[in-house]
């Protein structure tokens, strides 16, 4: 479920794969969340066109599809940056200083929930990733960094050339 990683499949194949996922669920409206998961995995985010296609194929009102897609935090309606930092702000990470990491990223990149203008870095927060023993934790492009300090983030940001 590495939602943050960029889709690897070539473009034309992705539509076929989404179609296959829907047919596996017999185009049932009850499988909407599964289908949205697959769509986001394939395309990186849920565009308006994509949502409309899914609504048509599953025979659901577009409002219902948009309603579900916006209800759950996991689904993103905007494209992600090249790199994604997800800062955990669960209780253990909060106690260990997770918000200091959010501040660092907001200072150097973009506000939480947003992507830098050049599309390089997305900054997000998560409600506990369950790695509380490693607090404060950050998921950087799908892998968990443990006991992160603002200095660790500086190093990583410098590596990918964020000014």
């Amino acid at each position: 479920m590495a939602a943050s990683s960029a889709p690897a499949a070539p473009k034309d194949n992705r539509e076929k794969m989404l179609e296959r996922a829907m047919s596996r669920h017999q185009y049932s409206g009850a499988a909407l969340i599964e289908v949205l998961h697959t769509a986001q995995e394939l395309f990186g985010y849920l565009s308006p066109v994509l949502l409309k296609t899914i609504a048509r194929k599953l025979k659901l009102p577009p409002s219902r599809v948009l309603g579900v897609a916006t209800f759950y935090h996991f689904f993103s309606l905007k494209p992600k940056g090249e790199h994604t930092f997800v800062v955990c702000i669960g209780t253990a990470c909060y106690v260990a200083g997770g918000f200091g990491l959010v501040e660092k990223l907001e200072h150097r990149c973009a506000k939480a929930g947003h992507t830098t203008e050049d599309g390089k870095v997305s900054v997000e927060t998560a409600r506990c990733i369950g790695s509380c023993g490693l607090a404060p934790a950050v998921i950087y492009d799908g892998s968990v960094l443990a006991r992160v300090t603002p200095a660790t983030l500086d190093t990583e940001l410098n590596k990918i050339g964020v000014r």
Partner: protein, 551 residues
């Protein structure tokens, strides 16, 4: 596979394991993997190969070994030696069995006779850190699926339910509803279709018990669900697991496939004429989906919004049919109860809280990680004996139950941990997150933090929760920035009562708990913020900064 073949397979695998010189177990739970356990495991396997020890020494990945703060962890079964903070470079010494004597690796060796290990009682976590969660044979060797075989061969569904009732097991998701009673309610419904649902939507921030059980021993949960399906008359189960738990999802998918292949799940379970399928449903990041009616809506592909109860899910749940919903840890307790009997389970714990409880220790504590203790152990023993105490600073509060729970101050450290005692002091057992705070944590800000969480996670269906959490958060934000007034405290109290009594579901009803408990036990901190514009913990920054705040 028949029950007979299952037993044969167990003896075969046990004999194979005993023929080995030793097994080197490498913790590959999410925690250890993020500190490099993957490379370590490969290095260990390569070292075994290089030394020509294949067939004599086996390197296995396992679930969580518990002491996450010392990860990556490696256990050598020869002499039961545990190593912490192990790195790939240590592989030669570990494989040679000389790591404990190597001066360069001093400090890697962990004493298994310390209270962290000796004071625990592992039932749910018995296999975690011992079996390879990706190998069915390993689980079978540890006695896996024998309870399912016993239930199907020797027990009627009624007898299974009676055994669970006798055990006194209560729901481990937090509310503590008697499990046997719930099973009985579902079993009594005369409906052609029923469902068993495992709630693995572990949303409390600071809790990772269920994730560790799913990652470390997925078959145990599947077995518990199949036994439940047999007892209540269901043929289909769903596991609703958080989308954030990638590794748990992957291991569950693998475990389901393995179990189906061997007829331990599916249409011909152990050739006993019982069928039960399990499918995964992946959550999409909504805390409210831990509430059972919201969870059902989410499985049905809708927005995860709760509905009025009754009817409760045992009468009308998934697609309007009787549905049994239990938490991961509850299901993980079932196989041992069927194996050893309800009486055995009831002999552990206190009068009204039987068995053990898994806790995730986190925050300002020396030994962070996963522990399992008998019900009724005091908080002091858990935090100071097992947890190793608070490094450098002074204990201030322990937070249990996440955003629905409360903060427990020092004077209640001797409270036994069971459902009733914790609710008496204004907290709840919750699902098992236990976060320790020292004197650098500001309790007003902690209350604000949890209220912000509830505000974000409120589904918006009922007004008390949707609007009330926003109002309460706004007041708390004002207080933590030095703009609070004494009247705010009265307003907080009255809003808390309103939310508690009029919200539709548990989220809104319990959202005021952290505020109420901090107001009760730390009133002086609220006072200092409001009257003196001072944060005793030195955490809050007041605007404008006209006050010297020590760092």
């Amino acid at each position: 596979m028949t029950a007979e073949e299952l037993r044969e397979k167990q003896s075969e695998e046990l004999a194979r394991q005993q023929s080995l010189k030793n097994r080197i177990l490498c913790c590959t739970a999410a925690g250890c993997i993020s500190c490099g356990a993957g490379g370590l495991r490969q290095a260990l396997a390569a070292q075994v190969e290089a030394k020509g020890l294949s067939g004599k020494v086996e390197v296995c990945g396992t679930g969580c070994m518990g002491l996450c703060s010392r990860g990556p962890l490696v256990l050598d079964t020869a002499g039961e030696r545990l190593y912490g903070n192990a790195a790939a470079a240590d592989a030669p010494a570990i494989v040679a069995g000389s790591a404990a004597d190597d001066p360069k690796l001093a400090g890697r060796s962990i004493d298994l006779q310390t209270p962290f290990f000796t004071r625990q009682n592992k039932i749910v976590l018995a296999n975690s850190g011992r079996v390879d969660p990706e190998k069915l044979a390993d689980y079978i060797a540890a006695g896996g699926y024998q309870s399912l075989a016993k239930a199907l061969e020797d027990m009627t569904p009624r007898e299974v339910i009676d055994e669970v009732r006798k055990s006194g097991l209560r729901g481990r998701g937090g509310a503590g509803y008697p499990t046997g009673l719930k099973w009985d309610l579902v079993a009594k419904q005369a409906a052609p279709t029923k469902y068993v649902v495992c709630n693995a939507d572990e949303g409390d921030p600071g809790a990772f018990m269920d994730r560790s059980v799913l990652e470390g021993d997925p078959h145990r949960v599947l077995e518990g669900m199949a036994i439940a399906g047999y007892a209540v008359g269901a043929q289909q189960g769903y596991i609703y697991v958080r989308g954030e738990y990638g590794l748990a999802i992957q291991r569950l998918q693998n475990a389901i496939k393995q179990a189906e292949r061997e007829h331990l799940l599916g249409s011909r379970i152990l050739e006993q004429g019982f069928q039960f399928r399990i499918d995964l449903r992946i959550g999409a990041g909504a805390f409210v989906c831990g509430e059972e009616t919201a969870l059902i809506a989410s499985i049905e592909g809708k927005r995860g919004q709760p509905r009025q109860r009754p009817p409760y899910p045992p009468a009308s749940g998934l697609w309007g049919t009787p549905t049994l919903i239990n938490n991961v840890e509850t299901f993980a307790n079932i196989a041992p109860i069927i194996e050893k009997g309800g009486g055995w389970f009831a002999s552990i714990g206190t009068a009204n809280s039987k068995g053990t409880k898994v806790f995730a220790l986190a925050g300002k504590i020396a030994n962070t990680g996963l522990i399992e203790v008998p019900m009724g152990m005091s908080l002091r023993e858990i935090l100071f004996d097992i947890g190793g105490g608070i490094p450098d600073r002074k204990f201030k509060a322990a937070q249990t139950g996440g955003p629905s729970g409360g903060c427990i101050p020092e004077q209640f450290l001797d409270t036994p941990v069971d459902y009733e005692s914790l609710s008496k002091i204004g907290s709840i057992m919750g699902s098992g997150g236990l976060i320790v705070m020292d004197d650098t944590s500001c309790m007003v800000d902690v209350a604000r933090f949890f209220m912000e969480f509830c505000m974000d996670e409120s589904c918006g269906k009922c007004i008390p929760c949707r609007a009330g959490t926003v109002q309460m958060h706004d007041i708390l934000r004002r207080i933590t920035t030095g703009e609070g007034s004494p009247a705010d405290l009265e307003m907080l109290k009255s809003l808390a009562a309103l939310l508690r009594e009029t919200s539709l579901c548990g989220l809104g009803q319990t959202a005021p708990n952290p505020v109420v408990s901090t107001l009760k036990y730390f009133p002086e901190e609220y006072d200092a913020h409001i009257r003196e514009r001072r944060c005793p913990a030195g955490h809050c920054q007041f605007t404008p900064a006209d006050q010297e705040v020590p760092a």
